[in-house]
Symmetry: C2
Subunit: 217 residues, 2 copies
């Protein structure tokens, strides 16, 4: 696996929102890759296997093997792709706009998703639907307000950025947990515009190698 010419390998689960973020980045930057599906539900969770733990001690997807290294954490992976494949860029050149992009990305990646992910919801038990809705609702209220200052066609201005890569999968989670999107017209508008882009379509959970037949687009 040390050859830099080898195709990158993405350990991914079709429905994982963090895996989707990375799939969008790979698609936007035109990087070909192979997928190794990791089913987070089957066999008690394939992320807990010894083989996968060796790749990622955190036992979470996504993991990307690339250029002889193994990376976890979706935003760290996306930053690496940005550093090594700068076109098209996912961070604006202006430092203040770049800060806004990262603020929105982290708001979702550190402030919303981790507290409503599968492993937490499994610990919460029967109130998990309500828990997930509360996490997303409170995060989206803040995000809708932040976007009033930053948004153009997309989250920050008119260029697709790292923030958008986090937004679309988080809205999919909101829909999965039946969050009323009525109070978030800006989030809804941006999500819709992004879903029209080819990179967001090919990376969609409904079109992955491990997508079950009944959920295929």
């Amino acid at each position: 696996m040390s050859s830099v010419a080898a195709k990158p390998i993405l350990y991914s689960y079709f429905r994982s929102s963090c895996s989707w973020r990375v799939r969008i980045a790979l698609a936007l930057k035109g990087i070909a890759y192979d997928v190794v599906p990791v089913n987070l539900l089957k066999d008690g969770g394939q992320q807990f296997s010894a083989e996968f733990k060796a790749a990622n001690p955190m036992q979470q997807v996504p993991v990307l093997k690339i250029d002889g290294i193994t990376l976890s954490q979706s935003l760290a992976i996306i930053h690496y792709l940005e550093d090594t494949h700068p076109n098209p860029r996912l961070l604006p050149q202006d430092p203040k706009k770049r800060a806004q992009v990262r603020m929105i990305a982290d708001h979702i990646a550190a402030g919303i998703q981790p507290i409503q992910n599968l492993s937490i919801l499994n610990k919460i038990g029967e109130k998990k639907m309500e828990w997930a809705q509360n996490c997303i609702t409170s995060g989206f209220q803040a995000l809708e307000q932040i976007l009033q200052d930053t948004a153009g066609r997309y989250c920050v201005g008119d260029e697709v950025s790292m923030a958008d890569l986090c937004l679309v999968p988080q809205v999919a989670n909101a829909e999965r947990y039946k969050v009323d999107m009525g109070p978030y017209p800006t989030i809804t508008r941006i999500n819709k515009a992004l879903l029209e882009l080819e990179a967001f379509k090919v990376s969609h959970p409904s079109r992955q190698p491990d997508t079950p037949a009944e959920l295929r687009a």
Copy 2:
């Protein structure tokens, strides 16, 4: 507040681990700033005041007002400081090492801290001590293993990086929740080395303007 010459203002809580990350970055880069303390416990939580909500819709510390903009999310703030005050650098020049730094930083900032922070623990209720311990223990098991590949004197090699800014406050949280640090000798060694550095000392929770007298160093 639009003058770029104005001193930055940090909204901070002495015991907030995310605020501490930013205080370390400001200290390392030699950036003078004023503190506005936000007490997360007093008055039902001062972060919920209308005044603070206007600064940060997320109603969380830290918030940094700098160069005419208002930023939240600690790693987004630290990235902005890195972009605008590159010396001393907190990210290595080599993209692979930089990816390792961000992976560790995000592992803590998105994988551990959010699921053991005060607002989550308040929702968990009487089992909160056990919950916090489980979150930190499982995160530290993975981190200890990751560090076997990346660490030198500090988390990644021998230079202080963004990863270290996340490590020290997370270890403080572990101590607060009485996590047995025995199984994590590498984390413990690095934490000790970092705490000897002046920037980590002056930013310490025991030495802030809002530190209660009984907790002062």
